[in-house]
């Protein structure tokens, strides 16, 4: 499993852009980078996935440099409802299930009014 490292926690004021960076130095050729979001008392929710360069959807953007050893999840103009734990995962597209995804403890984002 490719190991990921991300900050344990971050604070941000409402309306700011938040960037959460994840390090994955041992990423392999067939690995995709996926981010999940978990609100209190709920299961995690898939928010974005990418392989290289930039991916954007209605929730977030994901920036991946050419060497793919890190990735940055960008949340534009956060609101209080973005307070959650964000998980960065790296998984092999050829595999599924057991031993392919490691959630870790994620980054706890707190949005302050």
């Amino acid at each position: 499993l490719a190991k990921t490292t991300q900050p344990i926690s971050m604070d941000s004021y409402e309306g700011q852009e938040v960037n959460i960076t994840c390090s994955h130095n041992n990423i392999a050729t067939n690995d995709y980078i996926t981010w999940y979001q978990q609100f209190p008392s709920q299961g995690p929710r898939f928010i974005i996935q990418g392989y290289k360069t930039k991916v954007t959807n209605e929730v977030a953007s994901l920036f991946i440099p050419a060497d793919r050893k890190s990735s940055t999840l960008s949340l534009p103009r956060v609101s209080l409802s973005d307070t959650a734990v964000y998980y960065c995962l790296v998984g092999d597209k050829r595999k599924t299930g057991a031993n392919n995804l490691f959630f870790g403890t994620g980054t706890r984002l707190t949005v302050i009014p």
């Binding site: 995709y32 996926t34 999940y36 008392s41 709920q42 299961g43 995690p44 929710r45 898939f46 996935q49 392989y51 998980y87 995962l89 998984g91 597209k93 599924t96 299930g97 057991a98 031993n99 392919n100 995804l101 959630f103 870790g104 403890t105 994620g106």
Partner: protein, 116 residues
């Protein structure tokens, strides 16, 4: 959107009891998972099923078993509950991915199990 339903939101059991946690998904997904989540430890995979009657051990299968008799239902069984199995249990499902997005799991809301 996919709905993954876990039978109980909160459950309190006694040490030594046999405990069944039920999970049902409504999108004909091939793959289903059971995780447990503990403070400071993140989510840890207990068991995974990629088809009816098929299962694979995850990272922490000891003390647990699973059953998948129908495609939509995946049950987690604690044969003899112990206090160290007090935890939040999360069920998830996903389709068999032939292209991106890969590993897009849909989670239930979880069952908070307390073993006294």
């Amino acid at each position: 959107d996919v709905k993954v339903t876990q039978s109980s939101r909160y459950l309190v059991k006694r040490t030594g009891e046999k405990v069944f946690l039920e999970c049902v998904q409504d999108m004909d997904h091939e793959n289903m998972f059971w995780y447990r989540q503990d403070p400071g430890l993140g989510l840890r995979l207990i068991y995974f099923s990629y088809d009816v009657k098929m299962k694979e051990k995850g990272d922490i299968p000891e003390g647990y078993s699973v059953s998948r008799e129908k495609k939509e239902r995946f049950s987690l069984i604690l044969e003899s509950a112990s206090t160290n199995q007090t935890s939040m249990y999360l069920c998830a499902s996903k389709r068999k991915a032939l292209g991106p997005p890969y590993e897009k799991l849909f989670f239930g809301s979880g069952t908070q199990l307390s073993v006294l």
